[in-house]
């Protein structure tokens, strides 16, 4: 030991060590913020997976995507109504309205899809390649073809209306044909897009989603056309058929429970799905059946049915996307864990 070190300085150094110890003790007290998840198990095991953590990522789509499913679905169906209307002796006003509905929907749809992209300035990269195995790629190309042909149909038919011309008439029909064909893909492919994913609530319904979405789009198109003053029996029959299909879809979701589709029947997404099902299926179906028996209140009943279908269609798309988010959180399905009950 160095003789120059006095007893008092040794005590001071010991004191300093104590200070460091106290300081470290104080600094090591970190406020405990445990992320609480409602049903999160506190263990990692073959029964709970890794502390109940999701085994899949949540869909990161924002509200633009269900909105796009809604707008795209109804404009595709509107184009088909216009095309079949042209084939038959439908009144010119209904055809004209259907064409413009398809054209306007065809303009809004790409805007919604671009707004949802993480890098919207790169939207044209969608057209770099065509991949048949990617429903997103098939859908992007379908949308391009639909938007252009639907806009061309509407513009050419306006030109034709003012100056009847054989050549323009042929062009209108050609554009109408393309937009009706791509419109049918547009109204249905979104079901494949959602169904062919790793999300259990979606992929377990891959065989019914396209039919559900087609009915939803058709009902919405008929509803908008009815509400814009086309009171034709044709639209009522289309809407009646769509509401019947929607009723069947709603029943099949309720009556075929499985662990993977829990999000379609429980929690917030379950109630949204149920409300959407009622608004799209049984309610408009009953109102329309009633309207054919009650002549005096026919117009009013059909308007209410149309509004109900429209709201139901929009809510249906939102509920499906929302259910996908909750389904991704549940690790028991991808990990094949013992069912947690419903």
């Amino acid at each position: 030991m160095n003789p120059l070190v006095t007893a008092s300085s040794r005590a001071a150094r010991e004191q300093r060590l104590l200070e460091i110890r106290l300081e470290a003790e104080a600094a090591s007290k970190v406020p405990l913020q445990i992320e609480t998840r409602q049903t999160a198990p506190t263990e990692a095991s073959a029964q709970t997976g890794y502390y109940g953590m999701p085994a899949l990522k949540r869909p990161q789509w924002t509200v633009e995507v269900p909105l796009y499913f809604f707008v795209g679905g109804l404009s595709g169906a509107a184009s088909l109504i216009a095309a079949v209307g042209r084939l038959s002796s439908a009144d010119a006003r209904l055809i004209r309205h259907s064409r413009w509905l398809a054209a306007i929907g065809g303009m809004i749809s790409p805007a919604l899809l671009i707004a949802d992209l993480g890098v919207p300035s790169r939207f044209l990269n969608m057209l770099r390649v065509f991949k048949i195995q990617s429903p997103m790629s098939v859908g992007s190309w379908t949308l391009v073809a639909f938007s252009n042909s639907a806009a061309a149909t509407a513009l050419l038919s306006e030109f034709e209306r003012r100056r009847p011309n054989r050549a323009v008439s042929v062009l209108t029909d050609a554009a109408q044909m393309v937009s009706a064909l791509t419109g049918m893909i547009l109204s249905t492919y979104t079901g494949v897009l959602v169904g062919a994913t790793a999300i259990p609530a979606w992929n377990e319904h891959v065989s019914s989603l396209p039919i559900h979405f087609a009915a939803s789009g058709t009902a919405a198109a008929a509803a908008i056309l009815e509400l814009s003053g086309n009171e034709s029996e044709v639209l009522n029959r289309i809407a009646l058929g769509a509401a019947a299909v929607e009723t069947a879809m709603g029943a099949s979701i309720e009556l075929t429970p499985s662990p993977g589709t829990k999000a379609l029947r429980t929690g917030g997404s379950g109630w949204a799905m149920r409300a959407a099902g009622l608004l799209s299926g049984p309610l408009p179906l009953a109102l329309r059946l009633l309207s054919s028996k009650n002549n005096a209140r026919k117009r009013g009943l059909r308007r209410v049915a149309a509004i109900s279908s429209l709201a139901g269609s929009l809510l249906t798309r939102w509920a499906w996307v929302h259910a996908g988010k909750l389904s991704a959180d549940d690790n028991s399905v991808p990990l094949q864990l013992p069912a947690s009950g419903e």
Binding site: Y50, I81, R122, N125, R128, M184, G195, P334
Partner: protein, 260 residues
């Protein structure tokens, strides 16, 4: 140039998180913030856009000899998770821009200058790996250190691993050494070891296999991962039926007598 893979041997992992740190430093990934998760010593939680290696901490019951020197300590298992670089990769198939490609080393790579952030790969990954970064807008995941592999180097995580728990090499050789390791572990009395390499599932094998003790489900490794392209056939058949119903319904509604 050969097809490469990772073998992550959790029986050698000491939970030091050097792989997480090395990955973040080499790939210049941002911090995830610091939240107490309450999952043992794991405060990272899961793989994501800013986490491409993630050490899982599994606390188990008392197994003599497995909890350090004290006989009554609980057992501790660690396993470093990573993108599986599937043989049939859901993200790659789903990508509409062609941004996600297969490299010459067999890895799955997202080209940062092509991805437009549609987020379809996020729902197409059966392992919940890919994620869109909210600030950059692009999807991000493990690159398999494509840049390092091109220079003949090992990925950053394998280089930094102090116990060689993360092994990197030619895929067939690595599968062989995985089998040898499994035999050795079993001979040494570790009868509960599992090699996670779902070759018989629709993902058709992976480029990152794992040796874990106990059930791989404990580490959130799905027993039967499915590449979502398997659902396409059913989906498009249904779309065909749906389009047919739309057409038939509309034609019927207009009335067959009215069609010209």
């Amino acid at each position: 140039m050969s097809v490469t893979a990772f073998l992550t041997d959790s029986t050698l992992c000491i939970g030091c998180k050097a792989c997480e740190v090395a990955c973040k430093e080499w790939n210049q990934l941002p911090s995830d913030g610091f939240d107490w998760k309450g999952f043992s010593y794991d405060n990272t939680g899961e793989l994501g856009h800013s986490t491409w290696r993630h050490v899982k901490f599994v606390e188990g019951g008392v197994i003599p000899g497995q909890g350090g020197n004290s006989p009554d300590n609980f057992s501790w298992g660690f396993s470093s998770d990573v993108c599986k670089h599937c043989e049939n990769a859901g993200c790659l198939e789903a990508c509409p821009t062609g941004a996600i490609v297969r490299t010459e080393f067999g890895g799955v790579f997202i080209q940062p200058d092509v991805c437009n952030g549609c987020a379809y790969c996020v729902v197409s990954c059966p392992f919940g790996v890919v994620e869109r970064n909210p600030a950059k807008g692009r999807a991000l995941k493990c690159t398999f250190c494509y840049d390092r592999q091109k220079e003949g180097l090992q990925p950053a995580c394998a280089t930094a691993c102090p116990t060689e728990s993360i092994k990197f090499g030619e895929i067939n050789q690595l599968r062989q050494s995985a089998q040898q390791r499994m035999t050795k572990l079993q001979d040494n009395g570790f009868t509960d070891v599992h090699l996670y390499d779902p070759e018989d599932s629709s993902v058709g094998g992976i480029h990152a296999f794992f040796i874990v003790r106990g059930d791989p489900k404990t580490y959130n490794l799905p027993p039967h991962p499915e590449v979502p392209t398997t659902y396409l056939r059913k989906g498009w058949i249904s779309a065909g039926i749906a389009a047919g119903l739309m057409l038939a319904g509309t034609l019927l509604a207009f009335g067959k007598g009215n069609i010209r």
